[in-house]
Symmetry: C2
Subunit: 310 residues, 2 copies
Protein backbone atom coordinates (compact mmCIF):
# COMPACT_ATOMS: atom_id res chain seq x y z
CA UNK A 1 0.00 0.00 0.00
CA UNK A 2 1.30 3.43 -0.99
CA UNK A 3 0.56 6.07 1.64
CA UNK A 4 0.45 9.69 0.45
CA UNK A 5 0.52 12.58 2.92
CA UNK A 6 -0.92 16.00 2.06
CA UNK A 7 -0.55 18.44 4.93
CA UNK A 8 -2.13 21.31 3.01
CA UNK A 9 -4.82 19.74 0.79
CA UNK A 10 -7.10 21.93 -1.30
CA UNK A 11 -10.41 22.04 -3.02
CA UNK A 12 -9.37 22.77 -6.61
CA UNK A 13 -11.95 24.92 -8.38
CA UNK A 14 -11.51 25.45 -12.11
CA UNK A 15 -13.49 28.12 -13.98
CA UNK A 16 -13.49 28.06 -17.77
CA UNK A 17 -14.16 31.49 -19.30
CA UNK A 18 -14.06 32.85 -22.86
CA UNK A 19 -11.09 35.04 -21.96
CA UNK A 20 -9.93 36.46 -18.63
CA UNK A 21 -9.97 40.27 -18.76
CA UNK A 22 -8.85 41.88 -15.48
CA UNK A 23 -11.26 44.33 -13.82
CA UNK A 24 -14.33 43.08 -15.69
CA UNK A 25 -17.10 40.57 -14.94
CA UNK A 26 -17.17 37.11 -16.50
CA UNK A 27 -19.77 34.41 -16.92
CA UNK A 28 -18.27 31.05 -16.09
CA UNK A 29 -18.91 28.58 -18.92
CA UNK A 30 -17.86 25.51 -16.98
CA UNK A 31 -17.04 24.73 -13.34
CA UNK A 32 -14.73 21.89 -12.31
CA UNK A 33 -14.30 20.80 -8.69
CA UNK A 34 -11.91 18.21 -7.31
CA UNK A 35 -9.89 17.34 -4.26
CA UNK A 36 -6.31 18.54 -4.73
CA UNK A 37 -2.98 19.19 -3.19
CA UNK A 38 0.11 17.35 -4.42
CA UNK A 39 -0.23 14.17 -2.34
CA UNK A 40 -3.91 13.88 -3.24
CA UNK A 41 -3.02 14.21 -6.93
CA UNK A 42 -0.46 11.40 -6.51
CA UNK A 43 -3.08 9.19 -4.83
CA UNK A 44 -5.54 9.88 -7.66
CA UNK A 45 -3.02 8.80 -10.31
CA UNK A 46 -2.09 5.66 -8.35
CA UNK A 47 -5.78 4.82 -7.86
CA UNK A 48 -6.33 5.16 -11.63
CA UNK A 49 -3.36 2.80 -12.16
CA UNK A 50 -5.18 0.33 -9.83
CA UNK A 51 -2.43 0.40 -7.23
CA UNK A 52 -3.39 0.22 -3.54
CA UNK A 53 -3.15 3.69 -2.05
CA UNK A 54 -4.46 5.72 0.86
CA UNK A 55 -4.44 9.51 1.06
CA UNK A 56 -3.71 11.03 4.46
CA UNK A 57 -4.63 14.70 4.79
CA UNK A 58 -6.05 17.35 7.07
CA UNK A 59 -9.74 18.15 6.67
CA UNK A 60 -11.15 21.52 7.77
CA UNK A 61 -14.71 22.79 7.71
CA UNK A 62 -17.11 22.60 4.78
CA UNK A 63 -14.25 22.96 2.28
CA UNK A 64 -12.65 19.91 3.91
CA UNK A 65 -15.98 18.11 3.65
CA UNK A 66 -16.07 18.93 -0.08
CA UNK A 67 -12.54 17.49 -0.42
CA UNK A 68 -13.70 14.29 1.27
CA UNK A 69 -16.85 14.12 -0.88
CA UNK A 70 -14.71 14.16 -4.04
CA UNK A 71 -12.38 11.43 -2.73
CA UNK A 72 -15.41 9.29 -1.80
CA UNK A 73 -17.03 9.90 -5.20
CA UNK A 74 -13.91 8.55 -6.93
CA UNK A 75 -13.30 5.69 -4.50
CA UNK A 76 -9.92 7.00 -3.35
CA UNK A 77 -9.20 5.60 0.12
CA UNK A 78 -8.35 8.23 2.73
CA UNK A 79 -7.61 8.94 6.37
CA UNK A 80 -8.58 12.53 7.10
CA UNK A 81 -7.61 14.35 10.29
CA UNK A 82 -9.89 17.18 11.41
CA UNK A 83 -8.51 20.70 11.78
CA UNK A 84 -10.25 23.65 13.41
CA UNK A 85 -9.35 25.88 10.44
CA UNK A 86 -11.08 25.72 7.08
CA UNK A 87 -9.25 23.82 4.32
CA UNK A 88 -7.95 26.02 1.53
CA UNK A 89 -9.08 26.42 -2.06
CA UNK A 90 -7.07 26.80 -5.19
CA UNK A 91 -8.76 28.61 -7.97
CA UNK A 92 -7.75 28.18 -11.64
CA UNK A 93 -9.20 30.25 -14.47
CA UNK A 94 -8.77 28.65 -17.89
CA UNK A 95 -9.23 30.70 -21.07
CA UNK A 96 -11.22 28.49 -23.40
CA UNK A 97 -9.41 29.70 -26.52
CA UNK A 98 -5.75 29.48 -25.54
CA UNK A 99 -6.08 27.01 -22.66
CA UNK A 100 -3.87 29.38 -20.64
CA UNK A 101 -4.37 29.09 -16.89
CA UNK A 102 -4.40 31.80 -14.21
CA UNK A 103 -3.98 30.38 -10.71
CA UNK A 104 -4.82 31.75 -7.24
CA UNK A 105 -3.55 29.77 -4.26
CA UNK A 106 -4.90 30.29 -0.75
CA UNK A 107 -2.38 29.73 2.06
CA UNK A 108 -4.47 27.23 4.00
CA UNK A 109 -5.21 27.01 7.70
CA UNK A 110 -2.68 26.87 10.48
CA UNK A 111 -2.50 23.46 12.15
CA UNK A 112 -2.26 23.06 15.92
CA UNK A 113 0.29 20.78 17.55
CA UNK A 114 -2.53 18.44 18.65
CA UNK A 115 -3.76 18.15 15.07
CA UNK A 116 -0.23 17.50 13.82
CA UNK A 117 0.19 14.89 16.56
CA UNK A 118 -3.01 13.16 15.43
CA UNK A 119 -1.85 13.06 11.80
CA UNK A 120 1.58 11.69 12.74
CA UNK A 121 -0.16 8.97 14.77
CA UNK A 122 -2.27 8.00 11.77
CA UNK A 123 0.84 7.82 9.52
CA UNK A 124 2.66 5.72 12.12
CA UNK A 125 -0.24 3.23 12.17
CA UNK A 126 -0.34 3.04 8.37
CA UNK A 127 3.43 2.47 8.10
CA UNK A 128 2.92 -1.09 9.37
CA UNK A 129 1.28 -1.98 6.03
CA UNK A 130 2.96 0.57 3.76
CA UNK A 131 5.24 -0.15 0.79
CA UNK A 132 6.06 3.53 0.14
CA UNK A 133 5.42 6.81 1.97
CA UNK A 134 4.90 9.87 -0.27
CA UNK A 135 5.27 13.32 1.34
CA UNK A 136 4.12 16.01 -1.07
CA UNK A 137 3.47 19.70 -1.15
CA UNK A 138 3.74 22.80 0.98
CA UNK A 139 3.48 22.83 4.77
CA UNK A 140 0.56 24.61 6.43
CA UNK A 141 1.38 27.84 8.27
CA UNK A 142 2.94 27.30 11.75
CA UNK A 143 3.99 23.68 11.15
CA UNK A 144 7.76 23.28 11.80
CA UNK A 145 10.08 23.03 8.79
CA UNK A 146 11.12 19.62 10.14
CA UNK A 147 7.59 18.13 9.76
CA UNK A 148 8.54 16.02 6.74
CA UNK A 149 11.88 15.11 8.34
CA UNK A 150 9.99 13.68 11.36
CA UNK A 151 7.80 11.51 9.14
CA UNK A 152 10.88 10.45 7.12
CA UNK A 153 12.61 9.25 10.28
CA UNK A 154 9.49 7.35 11.38
CA UNK A 155 9.25 5.66 7.96
CA UNK A 156 12.94 4.70 8.04
CA UNK A 157 12.41 3.04 11.44
CA UNK A 158 9.51 1.08 9.95
CA UNK A 159 11.61 0.14 6.88
CA UNK A 160 9.34 2.05 4.49
CA UNK A 161 10.92 4.00 1.59
CA UNK A 162 10.08 7.72 1.45
CA UNK A 163 9.57 10.00 -1.56
CA UNK A 164 9.67 13.69 -0.65
CA UNK A 165 8.31 16.40 -2.96
CA UNK A 166 8.74 19.71 -1.16
CA UNK A 167 10.55 23.02 -1.48
CA UNK A 168 12.65 25.46 0.54
CA UNK A 169 13.21 24.82 4.25
CA UNK A 170 10.91 21.75 4.31
CA UNK A 171 12.97 20.18 1.51
CA UNK A 172 16.27 21.13 3.14
CA UNK A 173 15.25 19.68 6.51
CA UNK A 174 13.76 16.62 4.84
CA UNK A 175 16.90 15.81 2.85
CA UNK A 176 18.92 15.79 6.05
CA UNK A 177 16.65 12.98 7.34
CA UNK A 178 17.75 10.74 4.44
CA UNK A 179 14.70 10.12 2.23
CA UNK A 180 14.97 7.52 -0.55
CA UNK A 181 13.89 9.98 -3.24
CA UNK A 182 13.41 13.73 -3.50
CA UNK A 183 11.71 15.27 -6.54
CA UNK A 184 12.38 18.99 -6.86
CA UNK A 185 11.58 20.96 -9.99
CA UNK A 186 14.21 23.20 -11.59
CA UNK A 187 13.35 26.28 -9.52
CA UNK A 188 13.14 24.35 -6.22
CA UNK A 189 16.44 22.61 -6.97
CA UNK A 190 18.29 25.87 -7.68
CA UNK A 191 16.64 27.60 -4.74
CA UNK A 192 17.48 24.99 -2.12
CA UNK A 193 21.09 24.44 -3.25
CA UNK A 194 22.02 27.87 -4.60
CA UNK A 195 23.45 26.08 -7.65
CA UNK A 196 22.17 27.10 -11.08
CA UNK A 197 23.37 23.92 -12.83
CA UNK A 198 20.76 21.15 -12.35
CA UNK A 199 23.26 18.27 -12.39
CA UNK A 200 25.56 19.94 -9.84
CA UNK A 201 22.52 20.81 -7.70
CA UNK A 202 21.08 17.28 -7.87
CA UNK A 203 24.45 15.83 -6.89
CA UNK A 204 24.59 18.26 -3.97
CA UNK A 205 21.18 17.11 -2.68
CA UNK A 206 22.31 13.50 -3.12
CA UNK A 207 25.43 14.26 -1.09
CA UNK A 208 23.30 16.03 1.56
CA UNK A 209 21.29 12.88 2.28
CA UNK A 210 18.78 12.01 -0.46
CA UNK A 211 19.50 8.51 -1.77
CA UNK A 212 18.04 9.50 -5.16
CA UNK A 213 17.27 12.91 -6.64
CA UNK A 214 14.81 13.10 -9.52
CA UNK A 215 14.59 16.64 -10.84
CA UNK A 216 11.69 17.50 -13.14
CA UNK A 217 12.97 20.10 -15.59
CA UNK A 218 9.76 20.83 -17.49
CA UNK A 219 10.28 20.58 -21.26
CA UNK A 220 13.85 19.31 -20.59
CA UNK A 221 12.45 16.13 -19.00
CA UNK A 222 13.93 14.40 -15.97
CA UNK A 223 17.41 14.40 -14.50
CA UNK A 224 17.97 11.60 -12.00
CA UNK A 225 20.90 10.97 -9.68
CA UNK A 226 20.23 7.47 -8.32
CA UNK A 227 22.12 4.60 -6.67
CA UNK A 228 22.01 2.90 -10.12
CA UNK A 229 23.55 5.82 -11.96
CA UNK A 230 22.71 9.23 -13.33
CA UNK A 231 20.12 9.46 -16.10
CA UNK A 232 18.39 11.96 -18.30
CA UNK A 233 14.99 11.05 -19.68
CA UNK A 234 12.41 12.89 -21.72
CA UNK A 235 9.56 12.29 -24.11
CA UNK A 236 10.48 11.83 -27.80
CA UNK A 237 8.91 15.21 -28.65
CA UNK A 238 7.61 18.15 -26.64
CA UNK A 239 3.88 18.00 -25.95
CA UNK A 240 1.48 20.92 -25.79
CA UNK A 241 -0.93 20.99 -22.86
CA UNK A 242 -1.38 21.91 -19.21
CA UNK A 243 1.70 21.08 -17.10
CA UNK A 244 -0.22 21.28 -13.78
CA UNK A 245 0.17 17.96 -11.98
CA UNK A 246 2.96 16.65 -14.24
CA UNK A 247 5.37 16.60 -11.28
CA UNK A 248 2.81 14.71 -9.17
CA UNK A 249 2.66 12.06 -11.89
CA UNK A 250 6.45 11.74 -11.79
CA UNK A 251 6.13 11.05 -8.06
CA UNK A 252 3.30 8.57 -8.67
CA UNK A 253 5.38 6.65 -11.24
CA UNK A 254 8.37 6.44 -8.90
CA UNK A 255 6.13 5.32 -6.02
CA UNK A 256 4.61 2.67 -8.28
CA UNK A 257 8.10 1.54 -9.30
CA UNK A 258 9.27 1.20 -5.70
CA UNK A 259 6.01 -0.58 -4.77
CA UNK A 260 6.45 -3.15 -7.58
CA UNK A 261 10.26 -3.35 -7.33
CA UNK A 262 11.30 -2.14 -10.79
CA UNK A 263 14.72 -0.75 -11.77
CA UNK A 264 15.52 2.96 -11.85
CA UNK A 265 15.61 3.09 -15.69
CA UNK A 266 12.16 1.51 -15.78
CA UNK A 267 10.77 3.90 -13.15
CA UNK A 268 12.12 6.91 -15.02
CA UNK A 269 10.67 5.88 -18.36
CA UNK A 270 7.32 5.28 -16.65
CA UNK A 271 7.64 8.71 -15.02
CA UNK A 272 8.26 10.34 -18.41
CA UNK A 273 5.27 8.58 -19.97
CA UNK A 274 2.92 9.35 -17.09
CA UNK A 275 3.92 12.99 -16.75
CA UNK A 276 3.66 13.56 -20.52
CA UNK A 277 0.21 11.94 -20.40
CA UNK A 278 -0.71 14.32 -17.55
CA UNK A 279 0.31 17.34 -19.63
CA UNK A 280 -2.17 16.06 -22.23
CA UNK A 281 -5.02 15.96 -19.68
CA UNK A 282 -6.81 19.11 -18.54
CA UNK A 283 -6.41 18.64 -14.76
CA UNK A 284 -3.85 17.65 -12.14
CA UNK A 285 -4.17 14.02 -11.04
CA UNK A 286 -5.54 12.95 -14.43
CA UNK A 287 -3.67 11.62 -17.46
CA UNK A 288 -4.39 10.76 -21.06
CA UNK A 289 -4.37 6.95 -21.22
CA UNK A 290 -3.48 6.78 -24.94
CA UNK A 291 -0.44 9.01 -24.53
CA UNK A 292 0.66 7.02 -21.48
CA UNK A 293 0.43 3.62 -23.17
CA UNK A 294 2.05 4.85 -26.38
CA UNK A 295 5.05 6.35 -24.55
CA UNK A 296 5.32 3.51 -22.02
CA UNK A 297 5.56 0.95 -24.86
CA UNK A 298 8.56 2.74 -26.43
CA UNK A 299 10.16 3.14 -23.05
CA UNK A 300 13.91 2.88 -23.73
CA UNK A 301 14.11 5.37 -26.61
CA UNK A 302 14.39 8.51 -24.56
CA UNK A 303 16.44 7.25 -21.66
CA UNK A 304 20.14 8.05 -21.58
CA UNK A 305 22.53 7.09 -18.77
CA UNK A 306 25.15 9.76 -18.21
CA UNK A 307 27.81 9.51 -15.53
CA UNK A 308 27.47 7.19 -12.55
CA UNK A 309 27.70 9.16 -9.31
CA UNK A 310 26.61 6.44 -6.89
CA UNK B 1 -41.04 41.70 8.74
CA UNK B 2 -39.27 42.24 5.41
CA UNK B 3 -39.02 39.01 3.40
CA UNK B 4 -36.23 38.83 0.80
CA UNK B 5 -36.22 36.13 -1.87
CA UNK B 6 -32.98 35.01 -3.56
CA UNK B 7 -33.61 32.29 -6.12
CA UNK B 8 -29.95 32.04 -7.13
CA UNK B 9 -27.93 32.70 -3.95
CA UNK B 10 -24.16 32.38 -3.98
CA UNK B 11 -21.17 31.82 -1.80
CA UNK B 12 -19.16 34.98 -2.48
CA UNK B 13 -15.42 34.29 -2.30
CA UNK B 14 -13.10 37.29 -2.45
CA UNK B 15 -9.37 36.86 -3.05
CA UNK B 16 -7.09 39.82 -2.47
CA UNK B 17 -3.86 39.64 -4.49
CA UNK B 18 -1.00 42.07 -5.09
CA UNK B 19 -1.99 42.41 -8.74
CA UNK B 20 -3.90 40.05 -11.04
CA UNK B 21 -1.66 39.03 -13.95
CA UNK B 22 -3.40 36.64 -16.37
CA UNK B 23 -1.70 33.29 -17.04
CA UNK B 24 0.48 33.39 -13.93
CA UNK B 25 0.19 31.99 -10.39
CA UNK B 26 -0.74 34.19 -7.42
CA UNK B 27 -0.54 33.84 -3.68
CA UNK B 28 -3.77 35.01 -2.12
CA UNK B 29 -3.04 37.56 0.62
CA UNK B 30 -6.54 37.52 2.10
CA UNK B 31 -9.63 35.37 1.66
CA UNK B 32 -13.14 36.67 2.32
CA UNK B 33 -16.19 34.41 2.38
CA UNK B 34 -19.80 35.41 2.75
CA UNK B 35 -23.31 34.43 1.74
CA UNK B 36 -24.37 36.46 -1.28
CA UNK B 37 -26.84 36.98 -4.03
CA UNK B 38 -28.81 40.21 -4.27
CA UNK B 39 -31.67 39.32 -1.90
CA UNK B 40 -29.20 38.01 0.69
CA UNK B 41 -27.25 41.29 0.46
CA UNK B 42 -30.50 43.22 1.05
CA UNK B 43 -31.27 41.07 4.11
CA UNK B 44 -27.77 41.67 5.47
CA UNK B 45 -28.14 45.45 5.20
CA UNK B 46 -31.62 45.35 6.80
CA UNK B 47 -30.29 43.14 9.61
CA UNK B 48 -27.48 45.65 10.25
CA UNK B 49 -30.13 48.40 10.40
CA UNK B 50 -31.89 46.28 13.07
CA UNK B 51 -35.00 45.81 10.98
CA UNK B 52 -36.83 42.46 11.15
CA UNK B 53 -35.97 40.45 8.04
CA UNK B 54 -35.92 36.88 6.81
CA UNK B 55 -33.96 35.65 3.79
CA UNK B 56 -35.63 32.99 1.65
CA UNK B 57 -33.27 31.17 -0.72
CA UNK B 58 -32.43 27.83 -2.27
CA UNK B 59 -29.66 25.82 -0.60
CA UNK B 60 -27.68 23.20 -2.57
CA UNK B 61 -24.93 20.85 -1.40
CA UNK B 62 -21.89 21.84 0.65
CA UNK B 63 -21.76 25.28 -0.98
CA UNK B 64 -25.35 25.80 0.18
CA UNK B 65 -24.32 24.65 3.65
CA UNK B 66 -21.53 27.25 3.62
CA UNK B 67 -24.10 29.92 2.66
CA UNK B 68 -26.24 28.88 5.62
CA UNK B 69 -23.26 28.82 7.97
CA UNK B 70 -22.49 32.45 7.12
CA UNK B 71 -26.12 33.55 7.65
CA UNK B 72 -26.15 31.73 11.00
CA UNK B 73 -22.83 33.27 12.02
CA UNK B 74 -24.25 36.75 11.45
CA UNK B 75 -27.66 36.02 12.97
CA UNK B 76 -29.55 36.68 9.72
CA UNK B 77 -32.87 34.79 9.88
CA UNK B 78 -33.51 32.52 6.90
CA UNK B 79 -35.77 29.92 5.36
CA UNK B 80 -33.69 27.76 3.01
CA UNK B 81 -35.20 25.32 0.55
CA UNK B 82 -33.04 22.36 -0.47
CA UNK B 83 -32.09 21.82 -4.11
CA UNK B 84 -30.49 18.72 -5.60
CA UNK B 85 -27.94 20.88 -7.45
CA UNK B 86 -24.98 22.56 -5.77
CA UNK B 87 -25.34 26.28 -4.98
CA UNK B 88 -23.15 28.53 -7.07
CA UNK B 89 -20.07 30.54 -6.15
CA UNK B 90 -19.02 33.98 -7.23
CA UNK B 91 -15.31 34.74 -7.26
CA UNK B 92 -14.01 38.28 -6.91
CA UNK B 93 -10.31 39.01 -7.24
CA UNK B 94 -9.34 42.38 -5.78
CA UNK B 95 -5.99 43.99 -6.65
CA UNK B 96 -4.67 45.34 -3.35
CA UNK B 97 -3.12 48.41 -4.95
CA UNK B 98 -5.89 49.78 -7.14
CA UNK B 99 -8.84 48.06 -5.45
CA UNK B 100 -9.99 47.04 -8.94
CA UNK B 101 -12.17 43.92 -8.95
CA UNK B 102 -12.30 41.04 -11.41
CA UNK B 103 -15.46 38.97 -11.08
CA UNK B 104 -16.35 35.40 -12.13
CA UNK B 105 -19.99 34.38 -11.80
CA UNK B 106 -21.09 30.75 -11.90
CA UNK B 107 -24.54 30.16 -13.41
CA UNK B 108 -25.96 28.22 -10.49
CA UNK B 109 -27.94 24.99 -10.42
CA UNK B 110 -31.17 24.35 -12.26
CA UNK B 111 -34.19 24.14 -9.96
CA UNK B 112 -36.87 21.49 -10.35
CA UNK B 113 -40.57 22.34 -10.35
CA UNK B 114 -40.95 20.55 -6.99
CA UNK B 115 -38.20 22.70 -5.48
CA UNK B 116 -39.78 25.85 -6.92
CA UNK B 117 -43.15 24.73 -5.53
CA UNK B 118 -41.61 24.29 -2.07
CA UNK B 119 -40.07 27.78 -2.16
CA UNK B 120 -43.35 29.39 -3.30
CA UNK B 121 -45.11 27.61 -0.43
CA UNK B 122 -42.60 29.03 2.06
CA UNK B 123 -43.07 32.57 0.68
CA UNK B 124 -46.88 32.19 0.82
CA UNK B 125 -46.63 31.22 4.50
CA UNK B 126 -44.34 34.16 5.30
CA UNK B 127 -46.62 36.67 3.51
CA UNK B 128 -49.07 36.42 6.42
CA UNK B 129 -46.57 38.32 8.61
CA UNK B 130 -44.72 40.31 5.95
CA UNK B 131 -44.56 44.10 5.57
CA UNK B 132 -42.59 44.01 2.30
CA UNK B 133 -41.55 41.29 -0.16
CA UNK B 134 -38.20 41.85 -1.91
CA UNK B 135 -37.50 39.83 -5.08
CA UNK B 136 -33.87 40.27 -6.13
CA UNK B 137 -31.43 38.89 -8.62
CA UNK B 138 -31.18 36.51 -11.54
CA UNK B 139 -33.37 33.43 -11.96
CA UNK B 140 -31.75 29.98 -11.84
CA UNK B 141 -31.57 28.08 -15.14
CA UNK B 142 -34.87 26.44 -16.17
CA UNK B 143 -37.10 28.54 -13.90
CA UNK B 144 -39.85 30.27 -15.95
CA UNK B 145 -39.44 33.99 -16.70
CA UNK B 146 -42.74 34.51 -14.84
CA UNK B 147 -41.34 33.24 -11.52
CA UNK B 148 -41.18 36.72 -9.97
CA UNK B 149 -44.54 37.63 -11.50
CA UNK B 150 -46.14 34.65 -9.72
CA UNK B 151 -44.72 35.77 -6.37
CA UNK B 152 -45.80 39.35 -7.07
CA UNK B 153 -49.39 38.23 -7.66
CA UNK B 154 -49.35 36.17 -4.45
CA UNK B 155 -48.07 39.17 -2.47
CA UNK B 156 -50.72 41.46 -3.96
CA UNK B 157 -53.42 39.00 -2.85
CA UNK B 158 -51.94 39.09 0.67
CA UNK B 159 -51.76 42.90 0.58
CA UNK B 160 -47.95 42.93 0.82
CA UNK B 161 -45.98 45.52 -1.22
CA UNK B 162 -43.37 44.08 -3.60
CA UNK B 163 -39.96 45.45 -4.63
CA UNK B 164 -38.55 43.75 -7.73
CA UNK B 165 -34.85 43.99 -8.68
CA UNK B 166 -34.39 41.89 -11.80
CA UNK B 167 -33.37 42.21 -15.44
CA UNK B 168 -34.46 41.13 -18.91
CA UNK B 169 -37.41 38.76 -19.30
CA UNK B 170 -37.84 38.30 -15.52
CA UNK B 171 -38.15 42.09 -15.12
CA UNK B 172 -40.50 42.43 -18.10
CA UNK B 173 -42.80 39.64 -16.85
CA UNK B 174 -42.60 40.97 -13.30
CA UNK B 175 -43.59 44.54 -14.26
CA UNK B 176 -46.74 43.22 -15.94
CA UNK B 177 -47.78 41.73 -12.58
CA UNK B 178 -47.86 45.23 -11.03
CA UNK B 179 -45.11 45.40 -8.39
CA UNK B 180 -44.99 48.44 -6.10
CA UNK B 181 -41.36 49.22 -6.97
CA UNK B 182 -38.87 48.07 -9.58
CA UNK B 183 -35.18 49.01 -9.28
CA UNK B 184 -33.33 48.58 -12.57
CA UNK B 185 -29.85 49.97 -13.15
CA UNK B 186 -29.11 52.05 -16.25
CA UNK B 187 -28.21 49.09 -18.46
CA UNK B 188 -31.18 46.98 -17.33
CA UNK B 189 -33.54 49.93 -17.84
CA UNK B 190 -32.33 50.58 -21.40
CA UNK B 191 -32.28 46.86 -22.20
CA UNK B 192 -35.81 46.07 -21.05
CA UNK B 193 -37.45 49.15 -22.61
CA UNK B 194 -35.27 49.74 -25.67
CA UNK B 195 -35.17 53.43 -24.68
CA UNK B 196 -31.75 55.04 -24.18
CA UNK B 197 -33.12 58.00 -22.15
CA UNK B 198 -33.45 56.95 -18.46
CA UNK B 199 -36.43 59.22 -17.73
CA UNK B 200 -38.37 58.06 -20.79
CA UNK B 201 -37.49 54.44 -19.97
CA UNK B 202 -38.53 54.76 -16.31
CA UNK B 203 -41.82 56.34 -17.35
CA UNK B 204 -42.37 53.47 -19.79
CA UNK B 205 -41.88 50.87 -17.02
CA UNK B 206 -44.24 52.89 -14.81
CA UNK B 207 -46.83 52.86 -17.59
CA UNK B 208 -46.28 49.11 -18.09
CA UNK B 209 -47.34 48.31 -14.52
CA UNK B 210 -44.70 49.26 -11.92
CA UNK B 211 -46.24 51.70 -9.41
CA UNK B 212 -42.78 53.19 -8.80
CA UNK B 213 -39.57 52.92 -10.77
CA UNK B 214 -36.28 53.70 -9.01
CA UNK B 215 -33.40 53.59 -11.46
CA UNK B 216 -29.89 53.45 -10.04
CA UNK B 217 -27.64 55.32 -12.48
CA UNK B 218 -24.26 54.74 -10.83
CA UNK B 219 -22.38 58.03 -10.36
CA UNK B 220 -25.48 59.90 -11.62
CA UNK B 221 -27.44 58.81 -8.54
CA UNK B 222 -31.09 57.80 -8.53
CA UNK B 223 -33.96 58.65 -10.85
CA UNK B 224 -37.35 57.82 -9.38
CA UNK B 225 -40.77 57.88 -10.99
CA UNK B 226 -43.17 57.45 -8.04
CA UNK B 227 -46.83 58.07 -7.18
CA UNK B 228 -45.59 61.16 -5.26
CA UNK B 229 -43.71 62.62 -8.22
CA UNK B 230 -40.51 62.22 -10.15
CA UNK B 231 -37.23 62.82 -8.37
CA UNK B 232 -33.52 62.83 -8.93
CA UNK B 233 -31.25 62.23 -5.98
CA UNK B 234 -27.52 61.82 -5.58
CA UNK B 235 -24.76 62.21 -3.01
CA UNK B 236 -23.24 65.72 -2.64
CA UNK B 237 -20.00 64.51 -4.22
CA UNK B 238 -18.90 61.38 -6.05
CA UNK B 239 -17.31 58.77 -3.80
CA UNK B 240 -14.45 56.44 -4.67
CA UNK B 241 -14.86 52.79 -3.72
CA UNK B 242 -16.34 49.46 -4.72
CA UNK B 243 -19.84 49.83 -6.24
CA UNK B 244 -20.70 46.12 -5.74
CA UNK B 245 -23.86 45.91 -3.65
CA UNK B 246 -24.76 49.61 -3.95
CA UNK B 247 -27.96 48.70 -5.82
CA UNK B 248 -28.87 46.18 -3.12
CA UNK B 249 -28.56 48.95 -0.53
CA UNK B 250 -30.94 51.12 -2.57
CA UNK B 251 -33.44 48.24 -2.41
CA UNK B 252 -32.84 47.82 1.33
CA UNK B 253 -33.47 51.53 1.97
CA UNK B 254 -36.72 51.49 -0.02
CA UNK B 255 -37.85 48.31 1.76
CA UNK B 256 -37.06 49.94 5.11
CA UNK B 257 -39.03 53.05 4.06
CA UNK B 258 -42.09 51.01 3.06
CA UNK B 259 -41.81 48.99 6.28
CA UNK B 260 -41.73 52.12 8.46
CA UNK B 261 -44.13 54.15 6.30
CA UNK B 262 -41.91 57.06 5.23
CA UNK B 263 -42.48 59.36 2.23
CA UNK B 264 -40.81 58.81 -1.15
CA UNK B 265 -38.44 61.78 -0.72
CA UNK B 266 -37.31 60.35 2.62
CA UNK B 267 -36.86 56.84 1.17
CA UNK B 268 -34.79 58.20 -1.71
CA UNK B 269 -32.47 60.27 0.47
CA UNK B 270 -31.99 57.21 2.70
CA UNK B 271 -31.27 55.15 -0.43
CA UNK B 272 -28.64 57.65 -1.57
CA UNK B 273 -26.96 57.66 1.85
CA UNK B 274 -27.00 53.88 2.21
CA UNK B 275 -25.75 53.15 -1.31
CA UNK B 276 -22.98 55.74 -1.01
CA UNK B 277 -21.99 54.16 2.32
CA UNK B 278 -21.93 50.75 0.59
CA UNK B 279 -19.56 52.07 -2.09
CA UNK B 280 -17.27 53.04 0.81
CA UNK B 281 -17.30 49.47 2.21
CA UNK B 282 -15.25 46.69 0.64
CA UNK B 283 -18.06 44.12 0.20
CA UNK B 284 -21.67 43.84 -0.96
CA UNK B 285 -24.16 43.85 1.90
CA UNK B 286 -21.90 46.00 4.07
CA UNK B 287 -21.83 49.78 4.46
CA UNK B 288 -19.67 52.39 6.12
CA UNK B 289 -21.67 53.61 9.13
CA UNK B 290 -19.97 57.04 9.29
CA UNK B 291 -20.70 57.81 5.64
CA UNK B 292 -24.30 56.65 6.08
CA UNK B 293 -25.00 58.80 9.14
CA UNK B 294 -23.25 61.84 7.69
CA UNK B 295 -25.24 61.70 4.43
CA UNK B 296 -28.52 60.72 6.11
CA UNK B 297 -28.31 63.77 8.42
CA UNK B 298 -28.04 66.13 5.45
CA UNK B 299 -30.81 64.37 3.66
CA UNK B 300 -32.67 67.07 1.70
CA UNK B 301 -29.63 68.70 0.08
CA UNK B 302 -29.31 66.36 -2.84
CA UNK B 303 -32.94 65.65 -3.56
CA UNK B 304 -34.64 67.47 -6.42
CA UNK B 305 -38.22 66.91 -7.51
CA UNK B 306 -38.62 67.23 -11.27
CA UNK B 307 -41.94 66.75 -13.05
CA UNK B 308 -44.86 64.93 -11.46
CA UNK B 309 -45.89 61.99 -13.60
CA UNK B 310 -48.23 60.25 -11.18
Amino acid sequence: MIVTVTLNPALDITHTVASLVPHTSHRVAEVGIQAGGKGVNVARVLHTLRLPTVAVAFRGGLTGAAIQADLDRHGIAHRLIDTAGESRRTFTIVDVGSGDATVLNEAGPAVTSDEWHALRGEVHRLLADASVLVLSGSLPPQLPDAAYAELTVAAARAGVPVILDAAGPALRAGVAAGPDVVKPNAAELADVTGLPDPLAAAEALHAAGARAVVASLGPDGLLAVTPDGTFRAGPPASLAGNPTGAGDSVVAAIAAGIHTGTSWPHRLSEAVALSAATVRAPRAGHFDADTYHRLARGRVGSLAPTTDTS
